[in-house]
Amino acid sequence: MLTIATGNKAVAAAVKAANPGVIAAYPITPQTEIVEQIADYVTAGDLASKYIPVESEHSAMAACIGASAGGVRTFTATSSHGLLYMHEMVHWAAGARLPIVMANVNRALGPGWNTWAEHTDAFSQRDTGWLQVFVGTVQEAYDATLMAFRIAEDERVLLPVMVNLDGFALSHITQALETVDPGDFIPPYHLPHAIDTKNPCVYGPMTGPNDYYKFRWDIERSMRDARGVIAEVEREFAEQFGRSYGPTEDYRCDDADVVVIAMGTLGKEAEVAVDRLRDEGIKAGSMRLRWFRPFPDLDLAGREVVVIDRDYSFGFGGVVAHSVRSKTGVTPYSVIAGLGGQEVTYNDIADFVRNRHPGEEMWFGVSEHV
């Protein structure tokens, strides 16, 4: 069906299509509309899920862990401080190999109190063993959420997936949305190690120094296998529903001398900047980084690179800029922009490219070069 929807409502619609057994969530700005819409679905009888209105995000993830291990598909959604309050259980979900899907509406962290877009909340969970995808349109929020269930539940992966969308910039924008009937694209939930009362087992017991590292390696092995699974699922999605995605969304990159790497909505706005720069004769391209974990292989040989980080690792630098540098050997021009919803237009992004100094870091609005 073709309609218009916000990013939040698109996520809720995808969750409805995936039909989880249990949804446990706690509302937080700017994620609230997702759980409100899901609660409406459940109340109206349009979604048969058990909806648990928990008292905190820590409990939301704990409830999803129990239900997922119990043998049903699970979903939760949060943002910012909610994600951080959930942190201990976020690690546990991945370690227990539970294919939970979570929408995280990216928002800055206080103080000062700020409800606008930033990616630091998601990056703070970078090393938990969750797959992380960042979306740039309302349609993509829907498509990526649907695919997240397929990818997480694939037996070669069995790891949770976090779908990230920019707070307000995407969660509250209204755009066109085509919903689909997933049919057998989402097969029935099957967890090989689901709790079976006829075959009692101990879950998550004391695991000593002789064994613990093997479980850690198994997470990494699945994370590596996940690259192939993601490609497979995205290919099948394209065949069935006609919309294709990849580890990055490349725009006018083929003959580009300079490539802008950004995530989320800034990555879409960068495409407009690229068009303007091309009109001036600057051969620019945009490479919107969609998957952050597992981190994709990027082909940047022979190009200058401008990375926009909507995040910061204090005492170190932009997380994406340093990730790109360490994975490709390319030294980018590192721009820190859009923190806490700071306004960044396509004209600003075009300026970043025009005034680039590879190897330097620039805080937009604070100083030209620092």
């Binding site: 218009i4 209204t174 755009q175 066109a176 879409k268």
Partner: protein, 175 residues
């Protein structure tokens, strides 16, 4: 691309007006985005919403700094907000007002949306509904078609008085 900035006060329905307008444009076969700018919102505080309409997919998420059209749902805001800021030369202003207001540097259009809402008893929680009638004025201005305005209103609201209010605004738009 046609860019519209809507000024209102929290609770007056400016955000919904933006969504309705985007939906009507979408039903006209155009691409459209509606984007509220959220501050520390509360009822009565000045708020702003943005709508973009184009024949191509819209990739811009930043705010509208140079609108083609400014809509003012509450003219008392004009005492505290420069609603004309960045208005393109030759741009248009649409006021919820029974009278034209001096100082609009573009083409000024006006219609008494509040009066229309009150006449049709379209009042929720003490506030007259402005976001459905304004769509009629926008249809008269050619921003969306009247059939799509009707469809958009019916998709979002069951009460037919909303459509009637839009039709009244279509007829009563001045200048």
């Amino acid at each position: 691309m046609y860019e519209i900035r809507i000024h209102s006060r929290g609770g007056q329905g400016g955000v919904t007006a933006a969504k309705l307008l985007a939906l009507a444009a979408f039903r006209d076969g155009k691409y459209a985005t509606a984007c509220p700018f959220y501050g520390a919102e509360r009822r009565g505080a000045p708020v702003v919403s943005f709508v973009r309409i184009d024949d191509e997919p819209i990739k811009i998420y930043s705010q509208i700094h140079e609108p083609d059209l400014v809509i003012v749902l509450d003219t008392s805001i004009m005492d505290v907000v420069d609603v004309l800021e960045g208005l393109k030369p030759g741009g248009t202003v649409l006021l919820n007002s029974a009278h034209p207001i001096a100082g609009c540097n573009g083409t000024c259009r006006y219609v008494d949306l509040t009066g229309i809402a009150l006449a049709k008893n379209l009042v929720v929680a003490g506030s007259p509904i402005l976001n459905t009638p304004v769509l009629g004025a926008l249809a008269k201005m050619g921003i969306v078609t009247l059939p799509s305005a009707r469809t958009a209103i019916q998709e979002m609201f069951a009460d037919e008085r909303n459509v009637k209010a839009a039709e009244a605004a279509y007829e009563e738009l001045k200048a």
